[in-house]
């Protein structure tokens, strides 16, 4: 055979090398999934990775057992629709590792819904809102006057109370036990 073929052999040896390396490197399961080659070419073990991610937002029913009173009292108010964790933070590792969740009492939290935006054709326009710049003292937290668990303006006016109008609920037996 002529010497002309030698570069071809070198090329073939290179290709063979890559293919051998490939057979070791690529995970055995890598292949075509349910969605076919175009949309399902992947390593199926990765699905497990995503399924195993830790859940952080537990949902309001998770709070019910220890914080029953607050859980039920808010049910009869307009704030019943707000899940506990929106203001109290995700319940991950609470109460096991994190004894106390940090409550977001920043004015900005309330303004998410209650900064007035007079938008027609949007439900935002129907929410009672305030102008954050002019409503009372902008440096004072809303919870100073308003009870987020009972945001009843009538009650607020009657009591004229300027300090937390809602009382802190004592911990349930379970919560007390594990709180560090």
């Amino acid at each position: 055979m002529s010497h002309v073929w030698r570069p071809l052999f070198v090329a073939l040896a290179l290709v063979a090398g890559i293919l051998i390396f490939r057979s070791f490197y690529v995970p055995k399961d890598f292949g075509i999934g349910e969605a076919g080659y175009m949309y399902g070419w992947h390593n199926p073990n990765n699905e497990k990775f995503w399924k195993d991610i830790k859940v952080k937002y537990k949902g309001s029913t998770y709070c019910k057992d220890c914080h029953g009173k607050n859980f039920t009292s808010i049910r009869n108010t307009p704030h019943a629709i707000i899940p506990c964790e929106n203001c109290h933070g995700p319940g991950t590792d609470h109460p096991e590792k994190i004894a106390k969740l940090t409550i977001d009492i920043n004015r900005l939290l309330c303004l998410r819904c209650h900064a007035v935006l007079k938008y027609p054709n949007s439900d935002r326009g129907k929410i009672r809102g305030i102008d954050p710049a002019t409503h009372q003292d902008p440096n004072v937290e809303c919870v100073t006057c308003h009870d987020p668990h009972n945001p009843n303006l009538g009650a607020l006016k009657k009591s004229q109370q300027r300090f937390p109008v809602y009382e802190r609920e004592p911990m349930g037996a379970q919560g007390k036990g594990s709180g560090r």
């Binding site: 002529s2 002309v4 030698r6 570069p7 071809l8 070198v10 090329a11 290179l14 690529v26 080659y37």
Partner: protein
Amino acid sequence: MIEVHGEAWTLKEFFTYPNEYIYWSIQIVMYPFMTGLVAGAFVLSSLYHVFGVKQLKNIARFSLVFSFALLPVAMMPLMLHLQQPLRGIHVMMTPHFTSAIAAFGIVFSTYGMIVASELWFVYRPHFVATALELKGNSQRGLIDSFRYLLFSALTLGSYDVSEDALEKDEKAVGFLAGLGIPVACFLHGYAGFIFGSVKANALWMTPLMPVIFICSAVVSGIALCIITYIVTMEIRKLLSRRKGKASGLPSYEELRSAEIEEVKLTSKYLVMFLIAAITLELLDLIFRGYTAVKSWDILREVIYQKDFYKIFVMQYGMGNLLPFILFKLPGLTVRRAGLGACLMLFGVFMMRWNVVIGGQAFSSSFAGFMEYVLPIIPHNIETAKEGLVGAVAVIITPYVLFYFINKVMPVFKYKGAH
């Protein structure tokens, strides 16, 4: 605060989606620019080997070697751009061929092997001669021992340099050069396809993109070869004049006439491909304006307002029209050709910039803009890689490589059969 990739160099204006940034930055401008140079240089060398344009003999071998030096550099911007450069090999490991990028590894290595093989046939007699010469030298130093090993390996075990064998070499070169043209065009047209097939990008998506890319690639490749050829010839002229016959170079006058002949002829091909490229680009532009689909409002704003200077002044004006006039004015001189070629190279670079960065200059919301601010002084690895520093590194590397390759495969001194 944690900085997001792209945030450092992106300015956003009006309504853009929160996750939108200039994700494809300077390195993705460099990538088609460099592959364009590779493809163009190769096509130029093939003009001699395949179509027998005899006058191109000198520049042909030069551009072939240079194209080989540029090859690894076409991959460099991609490695600098990848967020996970060490995983780049995955493209070869689990290629997903519905992606335009997946075949890159295969096309690129095929092309690389073709160029390498062609070079092997061209330089085989040189390898054999050098290896034999070093073999005869019984008192080899460390360097010569290394050279001996290298050149013996490069002969691939074939020391046959008979008349018959050399004839076969010549045939093989012709075949590889012929095979290389479609592969080089594919390599680069394919870079155009990577952009042209992105349906989410209104500026990129056009079937003309691969063809436009090929034409401008050839323009840039030839332009670069002309420039480098002129520079090396000037140096040789200087040496010839200073040292005279002792330099072993042809006389100054011989060099001078050879140079201008070569440059004149090559510039003809340059202008030819330039016209093809411009025609297609303008066709694309006119078509977009005429059909005026949903995206036209924002595209018009980008093309005629935001990027007007970059597109019409820098790219078309300085990069295309001006060199066109320079080349077409009667009595072409080497200096004028050199200037024209530099401008054309700049024009093609601006074209790549206006495609890659221009394609991201507007939001997919069609209601906002993004501006790329090239990081000049890097403040972290990211801004070094995808900033001026990275771009300059990519530009310098082929010359460094060329220096070393020239040691093994001498471009000018060697008087091979081809």
